[in-house]
C-alpha cells in the first residue's frame, strides 16, 4: 500500500517499495493555471532533497519543482510531453512527474501527511 506525503513547496510523493512517485498538488496546479510544458529530469540522474528537478511552464510563468527526497530518477512521465494539461486535469494521479528510488527514506519524516498538508494550505489563504 502506497503512502503519500506532501512538501511545503506543494509537491506530493507516493512511496511504495522504496520508490516514490512525485508530482505537484491539486492546490499547486490550481495556482499555476493552465500548464503548457513540463521540463522533466533525466532518467538515471542523482538528485538531492530540495534540488530543482523539473520546471512547470504555465501560460503565464515558469515554476520550479523541488525534489522532496534524495535518490535516483528511475522513470519520467512521458505522457506529459504531448499532454501537459494532465497536470491540471489529474495533478495527483495521471499528472505525475517522475519516479525516484529513495536513497534516504528517513527524509520522508520531514514531510506532511494529507491532513497536515490540507491544514497548511488552509493557512495560506
Amino acid at each position: 500500500m502506497a503512502k503519500i506525503y506532501f512538501s511545503e513547496e506543494h509537491e506530493w510523493i507516493s512511496v511504495e517499495g522504496g520508490v516514490g512517485t512525485v508530482g505537484i498538488t491539486e492546490y499547486a496546479q490550481e495556482q499555476l493555471g493552465d500548464v503548457v510544458f513540463v521540463e522533466l529530469p533525466e532518467i538515471g540522474g542523482a538528485v538531492d532533497k530540495g534540488d530543482d528537478v523539473a520546471v512547470v511552464e504555465s501560460v503565464k510563468a515558469a515554476s520550479e519543482v523541488y525534489s522532496p527526497v534524495s535518490g535516483e530518477i528511475v522513470e519520467i512521465n512521458e505522457d506529459l510531453a504531448e499532454a501537459p494539461g494532465l497536470v491540471n486535469q489529474s495533478a495527483e494521479a495521471d499528472g505525475w512527474f517522475y519516479k525516484i528510488s529513495l536513497s534516504e527514506p528517513s527524509e520522508l519524516d520531514d514531510l506532511m501527511n494529507r491532513q497536515e498538508y490540507d491544514a497548511f494550505v488552509e493557512g495560506l489563504d
Binding site: Q31, G33, D34, V36, F37, E39, V55, E57, S58, V59, K60, A61, A62, P84, G85
Partner: protein
C-alpha cells in the same frame, strides 16, 4: 503568489462584476485587474472562436480640442508622434507612437478623428506621464482626461454579430474607424479595433453605465469574459507590441519594425521628436530589429532569454515569449542584430542552459482576421 498587494490599488467600474464572475484578480499598472476567469487557454480559444469581453478600463482616455478645429488639433499633435494625423478622415483611427528626442518610444497609442476633436487612448502604465507630456506640449490645444469613462473590448469572430444585434450600424463599420452607437439606450463611443488580431470593437462608455453594458453583452450566448492572461497570449500571436516589453524608450520605431506607422508625408517633413535619428534609420537601416521567433517545440522561451547564433554568439534577446495556444507552439518576439533578422534565419534560445532551436518568422503568428468590408 508572493505578489505584494498594495492597499492603494485602484479598481475599474467593473470590479464587482469581475469578482462575481470568479475572476482571479492581480495588481496591474496600479489597478486590481482580472488575469483569468475560467482559465487562460479556454479564454484564449473563446476569443478565437466566438466573442470575448475584456475590461481595459485601466487604459487612459482623453480628448484634445483646438479652437480652430480638429485639423489644427491634428497638426499640433503631430509634433509628438510620427503618424500622419492630418490625413485622418472623420471617424478614422490611427495607431501611433509618442517618441522622445532620441527616437525612443514613450508609449504607443490610438488617435481618432472624432469629428471636432481628437480622441486618444494610451497605456495604463504610461497614462499619467502621457497626459503630462500632452498637456505641456500640445500647442494651443485643450486636453481633457476622461477618468469617468470605462473601456471594454469585445473581440472575436462573433463580435460583430453580437454588437450589431443591439446596433445594426456596428456591422458595417470599417476596421480602424469609430462612431457613436446606441446599445439598448446606452450611448457609447465604439472603435472597430483591438489587441487580439480578431475582428472586434473597443467600446468607451461612462463608468456609471459600464456594468450594465458589460452584463448586457455577457448575456449574449457567444460572449464570455476574458482576462489579461489571454489578452497577452492573443496579442503575442497577433504580433502586437506590449509597451514596456517589446517597445520602450530604448527602442526606435524602425528597430521595433513599426516603420509602417510613420506616415509618408512625415518621412518627408519630419517634425516629430527624434525625427533625425528615426529618418536616418529609415534610410540606412537600424542595427537591430524586432522579429518573430517560432521555436521548434512547446517549451516556452520568455522575456530576457538570450538568443545566440549557430556559433553560440549572443545576437539578441527575447522581449515577449510564451506558448501560443492557437499556433500550438512556443513563440516569441525578440530584438536581434540586423544580420540575423531575415525570415528563415536559424537561431537558438538559451533557456536554463539549454539551446532551444528557433527560426525567425514573419509575424503575425496567427493570421489577423480584421473586418475587410
Amino acid at each position: 503568489m508572493g505578489e505584494t498587494h498594495s492597499e492603494a490599488l485602484r479598481v475599474t467600474p467593473l470590479d464587482a462584476l469581475h469578482r462575481q464572475l470568479g475572476a482571479r484578480m492581480v495588481p496591474f499598472a496600479g489597478y486590481a485587474m482580472p488575469v483569468q476567469y475560467e482559465g487562460i487557454l479556454a479564454e484564449h480559444a473563446h476569443c478565437r472562436e466566438a466573442a470575448a469581453l475584456f475590461d481595459v478600463s485601466h487604459m487612459g482616455q482623453a480628448t484634445v480640442h483646438h479652437p480652430d478645429g480638429v485639423a489644427a488639433a491634428a497638426a499640433a499633435f503631430e509634433a509628438l508622434v510620427p503618424g500622419d494625423l492630418q490625413s485622418l478622415a472623420p471617424g478614422a483611427i490611427r495607431y501611433t507612437l509618442f517618441t522622445n528626442p532620441a527616437g525612443g518610444i514613450l508609449d504607443d497609442l490610438m488617435v481618432t478623428n472624432a469629428g471636432d476633436h481628437l480622441f486618444v487612448v494610451v497605456n495604463a502604465a504610461c497614462k499619467e506621464a502621457d497626459f503630462a507630456h500632452m498637456a505641456a506640449n500640445l500647442a494651443g490645444c485643450t486636453l481633457a482626461v476622461l477618468p469617468d469613462r470605462a473601456l471594454v473590448a469585445l473581440q472575436g469572430p462573433k463580435a460583430a454579430a453580437v454588437l450589431s444585434r443591439f446596433a445594426p450600424e456596428a456591422a458595417e463599420m470599417a476596421f480602424m474607424s469609430a462612431r457613436v452607437l446606441d446599445i439598448g439606450g446606452i450611448g457609447v463611443w465604439a472603435s472597430r479595433s483591438g489587441y487580439t488580431g480578431e475582428d472586434g470593437y473597443e467600446i468607451s462608455v461612462s463608468a456609471a453605465e459600464a456594468e450594465t453594458l458589460a452584463r448586457r453583452l455577457l448575456a449574449e450566448p457567444e460572449v464570455g469574459p476574458v482576462g489579461l492572461g489571454a489578452r497577452d497570449s492573443l496579442r503575442l500571436e497577433a504580433g502586437l507590441c506590449l509597451y514596456g516589453s517589446d517597445i520602450d524608450t530604448a527602442t526606435t520605431p524602425v528597430e521595433a519594425n513599426l516603420k509602417w506607422t510613420i506616415g509618408k508625408r512625415r518621412r518627408a517633413e519630419g517634425g516629430f521628436p527624434g525625427a533625425e535619428i528615426v529618418l536616418r534609420q529609415l534610410a540606412e537601416g537600424a542595427p537591430r530589429a524586432r522579429v518573430g521567433l517560432r521555436l521548434a517545440g512547446r517549451q516556452p522561451a520568455r522575456a530576457h532569454t538570450e538568443i545566440v547564433d549557430e556559433n553560440g554568439a549572443k545576437i539578441g534577446e527575447i522581449t515577449s515569449g510564451g506558448f501560443g495556444p492557437t499556433v500550438q507552439a512556443a513563440i516569441a518576439m525578440a530584438y536581434v542584430d540586423a544580420a540575423h533578422a531575415a525570415p528563415g534565419t536559424r537561431v537558438a534560445c538559451m533557456v536554463r542552459g539549454k539551446a532551444l532551436d528557433a527560426e525567425v518568422v514573419t509575424m503575425p503568428f496567427a493570421a489577423h482576421r480584421y473586418f475587410k468590408g
